[in-house]
Amino acid sequence: MNAPTEGFVGKSIERREDARFLTGRGQYTDDIRFPNQSYAAFVRSPYAHARIVSVKTDAAKQADGVLGVFTGEHFRQIGGLPCGWLITSLDGTPMKEPKHPVLADGKVLHVGDPVAFVVADTLAQAKAAAALVEVEYEELPAVVDPAKAAGSKSVVHDAAPDNVSFRWGIGDKDAVDAAFKSAAHVTRLEFRNNRLVPNAIEPRAVNAQCNVADDTFTLHVANQNPHVERLLMCAFVLGIPEHKLRVVAPDVGGGFGSKIYLYNEDCALVWASKQVGRPIKWTADRSESFLTDAHGRDHVTTAELALDKDGKFLAMRVSSVANLGAYLSTFASAVPTILFGTLLAGQYTTPKIRVDVTGVFTNTAPVDAYRGAGRPEATYVVERLVDTAAREMKIDPVELRRRNFIKEFPYASPVGLTYDTGDYETTLKRATELADVKGFASRRQQSEQKGLKRGLGYACYIEACGLGPSSIAGQLGARAGLFESGEVRVHPTGKVTVFTGSHSHGQGHETTFAQLVADKLGIPMDDIDIQHGDTAKINFGMGTYGSRSLAVGGTAIAKATDKIIAKGRKIAAHLMEAGEGDVVFEGGQFKVTGTDKAVPFGAVAIHRVRAAQLPARQARAGPERDRVLRPEQLHLPRGQLRVRGRGRCADRRGAHRPLHRGRRLRQRRQPDDRRGPGPRRARAGHRAGAAGARRLRPRLGPAALGQLHGLRDAARRRPARVHRRDGEGHPVEGESARRQGLRRGGRDRLPARGDQRDLRRDRHEERADARDAARRVAGDARRALNVSEDRQCRHSHTRRRRRWSMRPRLRRAARRSSWPAGSRCSRRCGSGSRHPNR
């Protein structure tokens, strides 16, 4: 075997991106300067809470080089910045989401809240003119302490008069209370998990331009997920048609969460670039970063742990007030709830857990996800409680942990996650060895002799990563899916370009993903290029956060690469005049088993382009590409919902299914209506009924906030028509879900399962066979010829009924390894199983 076949995965390989970073050739947003570049400077509130009496811009407008001065008035008719995760309060009401305007209008709600901005020829001119903007404020009492926010006389938003956005909770309260009554010991702690500033070393930067000739926009922005930025900005804020805005996130100097979000400045500059007709650049100075980057943490928590006399945990009760800041940032609501409450079991078998979280508005910078987001906060709560309990009960902290570790798997925690496997005793044992706990006493003594203090603490961490899957996230309130896209494009010369929806801002995707593909294709890494961070190049992407790039994005690429290999085998089989089943791919070569026949990967690639050498049915001329847009998105994240690296969560019914089976079930039974809006769902609205269509379609103008709710509603909507079957298996067609007595949510929200599903599948198969037979009889030669041997229908199948009709056939095909001759896409796209547009 030649060198590349030895494999790349698992090897330590020097990063490919380092060469440009080390020589100063990285291209960060602020490094980019366009011809005719102009610059923006923002006027920000010096008050935490104040009414804006007047904004005088005359002097600024007259200043040298000024191209425009913009205030809240200009953005009054424009949508607010949306929040991407709906949390529903315990009383069933949706969280309160007051408008987050692009520029403050009427009131400023935190120090640094943007009030106006100036665009000028040079940065110095912009800054000088910004200083000339006169804002008269009437200062209002501010509330900054989350513990005092709820019910404070100082009201941040009129839409939330008690300053509360949501009151959320999970767990059996009565059972927890009962357990506390019977406990031999209760440990109680009150503490604050302090607020922090993410502080990526590269400040946020934006460079926006508008091509007035065709009304298209390009935004370069230091961001972790350019597609999401574009979606939110277009659909909810500015109303720009999504295909008219290109978002590029070039080299980005770290994010740590703070560059996930859609920010005021991004929207303001894109909007203004059309007004001034020139590219506009803004780069935060560090002081602005401190004031305006979304902060992290800021919980005020009361936590209690009930133990029996032997130190066995009986119950845990946690009550947190989460400071959301002045506005709901993009994922602010998910962090102290879904990402916090569900991790409170830690590594322990605490049988009853109750958590209540109140999200409050205060006159502080918005708070959102930062490094770990919610999960470190949960670990802090649990581990502080355990250590304190150990001290109070005079039990060794290691021993107390051992007594309570989860030892039997799978383990369903009382806060909703299922851990599939783990070995916590071993890791703790190893940690105590590494820390030389036995020798600690003497080390402490030595320190004391020098007048120094020495301490020892334990923490057993657990985390849910690789965020997804979309179906579960959707049920929990996510307003976007959590899948990832990966596309592998093979050029005629055998070189490969990989497009990923993940984004690298220090993680090293350009190396890791190339390593992955090189390993699979057996070609040198130098032959593989990784592209990311540009909506014009990459179909779609959910971006990088929550430790999901390799787990979700990398797996999407791996799946796409598998498809490339599968296609290559067909061509290679033809070239070597062998049966496809006899061709294997090893070490970058397609080989016929049992012979010395072989064709290298590159030769297959070039034959793909010299289509004349291929039989008509295989000749789809042009370079080969394959794409996994929704790469089994319903199972990948599920598989990667890691609990100490190897976990997964239960399906909706609480069953612990094998990964593979769970995925397939989920795919089959999840109708599109439940998936929420996605980029491919061009006709999503049709399925949610006429009202849904109106709501789903992103529109312009001031109704943007309304659309946000519309999207949410549509995502939660049950199908208007659900096909039930009567006792004899006949569908009860045309009857509304409501009239059939189906509830929203629960098992009834989805159509037929079990026997009903089988009935439907059989019926579809019968119909498909009948259609195929009819076509064969009709002698439709053109279509028959177009049917490729791989039988892989690549039609997008956006209509549910037809989509579903494909499933059993695909499954059947998998069972038989081949499809009956003449079978084709059920959408009758006219080209057999291969759709011409793909």
Binding site: T23, G26, I201, G253
Partner: protein, 158 residues
């Protein structure tokens, strides 16, 4: 009312009219388009803008362009020779001493100065020597390792 300054940057002579208030970093980034020198703060704390002026490391955001008149300035773009990375650059690469790369140019320039002009025999001295450069990604361990390796390679080269 600009002032004309002449200086050498990465071995090449430049003569430009600059605003007296212009910082050296802006001169390098905007006038000469040497964007490898970054700006990460406005308080001279992050060190991302570190360059060499007459062979000594300075934070270019804390020096006026006019102060560099007649001097020789070296930026990150100017330390690789004939397409070969400087030993310190090579050490950062092989020790994985960088992630997002934004602080890296300043870190490398400071490290070279440290090795050339200060005692760097212990890790503690290396850490102290790099106190003026902040990195948010790596946690510094690999940077210290890289400086140690880079120092050895520089010593061998001399």
């Amino acid at each position: 009312m600009g002032i004309t300054i002449s200086l050498k940057v990465n071995g090449r002579g430049f003569s430009r009219e600059v605003n007296p208030g212009m910082q050296l970093v802006d001169f390098l980034r905007e006038d000469l388009r040497l964007t490898g020198t970054h700006v990460g703060c406005d308080t001279a704390q992050c060190g991302a803008c570190t360059v060499h002026v007459d062979g000594r490391a300075v934070k270019a955001c804390n020096v006026l362009a006019v102060q560099a008149a007649g001097r020789e300035v070296t930026t990150i773009e100017g330390i690789a020779r004939n397409g070969e990375l400087h030993p310190m650059q090579a050490a950062f690469k092989s020790c994985h001493g960088l992630q997002c790369g934004f602080c890296t140019p300043g870190m490398v320039m400071s490290a070279i100065d440290l090795v050339q002009h200060h005692d760097h025999s212990s890790d503690a001295q290396i850490r102290e020597g790099l106190e003026g450069n902040l990195c948010r990604c790596t946690g510094y361990h690999n940077i210290v390792k890289a400086v140690r390796q880079g120092a050895q390679a520089m010593g061998a080269q001399r």
